[in-house]
Symmetry: C2
Subunit: 165 residues, 2 copies
DNA sequence: ATACATGCAAACATTTTGCTTTGGC
DNA sequence: GCCAAAGCAAAATGTTTGCATGTAT
């Protein structure tokens, strides 16, 4: 059952930067403050990427983030987008979402609100579930029953959306 | 909100082979029968891969499937493993599981039983949740509230397992 | 002035495909 | 014998890194 020990699994969720001050609300100001508090510099690229993520109504791929972060024909390098997203992920400001596609999609984590996704298997449209999360209660049960701690989850629904039916 | 129309999303879940007879139980016999019913040939490679998947107690990567399907020093080609898994996926006999790792992991779909996963963020160990699925009720709600049909879901929990705590 | 962030290019890992040969039916 | 499946090799895709240069602090 145990996977190979020589594999480094830590990159999955463990922050590479110790994040002492968790995000209080999902706003540009709060994020900038948190970056500063962690010794990160506020650059034009980072502002444009954060602005893009805040405007997005669905998870974005690195490619989409790069294209949307373009200002006056000037887009950040792909590697920069990658590094910024890796950074935001490690600070638990952003997270990956699994859409059953060959590349990764990212969204900002809203500490106030948890949303799960419904992905149309026909057109790929992503709908956010605004309902209260159906599994939060289960997380507590897992802690007790299986002895896990620091539990997070990833939940996606797939189906045919009304327009594709 | 709508994603680019020129993208082909269908590969995500839509079977490429029309599967007329859904699996009744998760056994080698039932799967072979289903393959035959869909005009697929029964080969040594396919038998070894199916046997591997049936024995597995956790989702396996293509690489792991190939290594485990080895019989007398003779392993199926990696491309063959890939094609067989794509086939099984399209017939909805197998499915991908997202473990937040750079490659895909597969498991057989048990029509009798649905299991969700708990993945340790430290050691990568995968635990199956044998409890009744916490979100089946939600699926019905999504049908009504959002108008989706043919709803499936993917649910993974992440946390520190007892031994890693 | 210093150290972090960036752009560019190259390396890497994984997935996917083309094509010829093999083998199930 | 026919056509699907397999093996091999190469291409395509997406992710990640090294290093020289730029820039926030």
């Amino acid at each position: 059952m145990r996977l190979p020990a020589n594999v480094n699994w830590s990159f999955m969720t463990r922050p590479t930067h110790t994040n002492q001050s968790p995000l209080k609300e999902l706003s540009l100001g709060a994020i900038v403050e948190l970056l500063r508090a962690n010794g990160m510099r506020i650059t034009k690229n980072r502002m444009q990427i954060l602005d893009t993520l805040l405007r997005a109504s669905k998870p974005l791929s690195l490619d989409e983030i790069q294209r949307r972060a373009r200002v006056a024909g000037d887009a950040p390098d792909y590697a920069t987008v990658f590094r910024v997203m890796t950074l935001l992920e490690s600070l638990q400001i952003a997270q990956k979402v699994h859409l059953n596609r060959p590349c990764s999609y990212y969204e900002l984590v809203n500490p106030q609100q948890h949303y799960d996704h419904i992905i149309c298997t026909e057109c790929g449209r992503v709908t956010l579930m605004i309902d209260s999360c159906p599994v939060e209660r289960v997380e507590r049960k897992i802690g007790k029953q299986y002895g896990f701690s620091e539990i997070r989850h990833s939940l996606e629904f797939f189906g045919k959306c009304p327009e594709c039916t």
